[in-house]
């Protein structure tokens, strides 16, 4: 049921996305969001399925059942989930929520303060800021989540093999991380984006490949998991490396993977906003929160509303992901509470 609803939204998102965006490249974004939403739905149904299964078998509370109960009792997590949901649905339904065209300019109406017909005011080109923020959520979430997906695939894979094979593989991966970490991520992102350009798809891939931070956490998780007896048991039965990694190691590193993913989305959203703010990210006229803030800089004396709302949108979205991630950490695994908040 949930699946078909999201599949419908998925199609709709692509369709409407094409119609509204000028650049063809940006049309990729709604589909990215829809894919992320699908993945989220799968995870949720997985949790639900597992806990239902446990109940049926009459073995009392399963791990996922406890997770679910704990999560619904955590105010932080619920608040975060609500914020994230609002933002995700805003991104998918932006053509229906926006009251105005986010791109077409109307000079006769420029820099109008917040008022009834323009609840958040208009910018220096006379465009409705509310509508631009609504559409900007596509860029933020689409690229943020898309880049995180790449982060997890690349970083997760590197972390897995480093922790599992140890020895030379491990030290190679660790050196690679050290090399990339020695340059602050934002500076690296600026460099790379200035070379490879800044279409949404390039941003996703570039941020995805260079943001290898998750590797470190996955590695340390795998290092502890691989010493467990069920791993040697699986190996003794004759399971190959591939099977052991994906059937036995990965599921047990799932908790930290989920926490890191959630928090990483927040980091990526801030990085994309920062790049756009410097004029190196999303190009105008495609509405993005970072670029809106860049534009607002020149008008802080006469149009404060241009600067407040996009930043508030970034702040709320990232806060939502951070609250959610923090709550996941508390709920999924008490061991994790020691890992630091960000890189």
């Amino acid at each position: 049921m949930l699946f078909s609803v999201h599949a419908f939204i998925f199609g709709l998102g692509i369709y409407r996305g094409r119609m509204i965006f000028i650049s063809k490249e940006a049309a990729v974004i709604p589909s990215v969001i829809a894919i992320i939403l699908l993945v989220a739905t799968w995870i949720l149904s997985f949790v639900h399925f597992k806990s239902a299964q446990a109940k049926e078998s009459g073995r009392g509370f399963s791990y996922w059942d406890i997770v679910k109960r704990k999560f619904f009792r955590d105010k932080k997590g619920i608040t975060g989930a609500i914020i994230v949901m609002i933002m995700v649905y805003m991104a998918l339904f932006s053509p229906f929520l926006a009251t105005d065209d986010p791109i077409e300019m109307n000079y006769s109406n420029s820099l109008a303060p917040p008022y009834l017909n323009h609840p958040l005011g208009t910018d220096n080109y006379g465009r409705d800021i509310f509508s631009r923020i609504v559409f900007g959520s596509r860029v933020a979430l689409g690229i943020g989540a898309g880049a995180t997906l790449f982060n997890m695939v690349f970083g997760g894979f590197l972390g897995l093999i480093a922790g599992f094979y140890k020895g030379i593989t491990d030290s190679l991966v660790m050196r690679l991380l050290e090399i990339i970490n020695s340059i602050p991520f934002l500076v690296l992102a600026i460099l790379v984006v200035s070379v490879f350009g800044s279409s949404p798809l390039t941003l996703i891939v570039v941020l995805g490949i260079f943001g290898l931070y998750p590797a470190r956490i996955i590695r340390s998780e795998v290092l502890s998991v691989r010493e467990e007896e069920y791993i040697s048991a699986a190996q003794a039965v004759g399971a190959g490396d591939f099977r052991v990694l994906f059937r036995h190691v990965l599921p047990n590193a799932m908790a930290s993977l989920l926490v890191v993913t959630t928090m990483r989305i927040g980091v990526n959203i801030i990085i994309v906003a920062g790049l756009s703010f410097l004029g190196l990210g999303i190009n105008p006229p495609t509405p993005s929160w970072g670029a809106m803030l860049q534009q607002a800089q020149e008008y802080i004396r006469i149009g404060w509303w241009m600067a407040i709302w996009p930043g508030l949108a970034i702040f709320l979205t990232v806060l939502g992901f951070n609250l959610l991630g923090d709550s996941f950490r508390d709920v999924l695994d008490p061991k994790l509470s020691k890992t630091s908040l960000q890189e």
Binding site: K76, R175, E178, I179, N181, S182, I183, P184, F185, L186, V187, I190, L191, V192, S194, V195, F196, G266, I270, A273, G274, F277, L278, G279, L280, G290, L293, A296, Q297, I300, R301, W304, A307, I308, P310, G311, I314, F315, V318, L319, N322, L323, D326, S337, K338, S340, L341, Q342
Partner: protein
Amino acid sequence: MLSYTLRRLLQLVAVLFAVTVLLFMILKMAPGDPARIYAGMTASTETVEAIRRDLGLNKPWFIQYYRFISGFFTGNSMSMTYRTPVREIIMERAPASIELGAFALIITLIVSIPIGIISAVKRNSALDYGLTVLALAGVSMPVFWTALMMMIVAGIWLDILPVSGRGELVYGWSFLTLDGLRHMIIPGLALASVQIAMNVRLIRSSMLEVLQEDYITTARSKGLKESVVIIVHAFKNALMPVLTNLGIQLSRFLAGAVLTETVVAWPGLGRLIYESVTRRDQPLLFGLTLLMAIGFLLSYLVVDILYSFVDPRITYD
């Protein structure tokens, strides 16, 4: 200890070498012809060719790479937009970044240490919960927006703080004058805001760990005052992770400075990075990024070595 330090230094050199190769590769892939940029758009083809020969751009890549490296270490490489040695430009801009970073670091420590301790001592209380959420909020704020908001509220509406620039300078430093100090408040607070939030969480969790140790119980049962137990016995031992983070924090300040310095027109190294990217000034960009990497790796090493001094239980080898 000495052999450990030497080994680490060797490793550092190897990593640095890889960083230079990575940087060089990225820069070589950049679109646009450096010679054309150097010559200007109106220059004739002959001039561009002459400049290409001059800059060694017609040579094979390993010679170009050698020129980049040797230029960096001898301080001879010339900026393409400023037409002066890279070293001079960096030296001129460095004080602005150093003082801003130091200022932000001081604010970070002053604010985060007491808050971190309080939320660890009153763990799981409403106060602790509130502070946790506040810390999460702090991490979620983009620095450039924080700076913009402070500029609007404190600089324009209340009109109590200057909005941009460095103010009055003495010997190239602005923290020596009152006007300069006032200019530092907005960028300093913006830079500190994220680090404060992260530090609070760090101090809280490391304090919580220490507070469960046996010697804390011993200290309490000896009849020591709670404040003495917490500050002398617990905090001193909870300081380690804070120290580790300090080195990383310094380099994070530089990264955050790219955005903050751009917003408030603070002429430091962060802004210089942004400028050199937009103007495609490759030698300058190479020098700046490499310097940053060296600073980061060195601070990591120094922190590791300091460790063994702070905590005699730690030995390497």
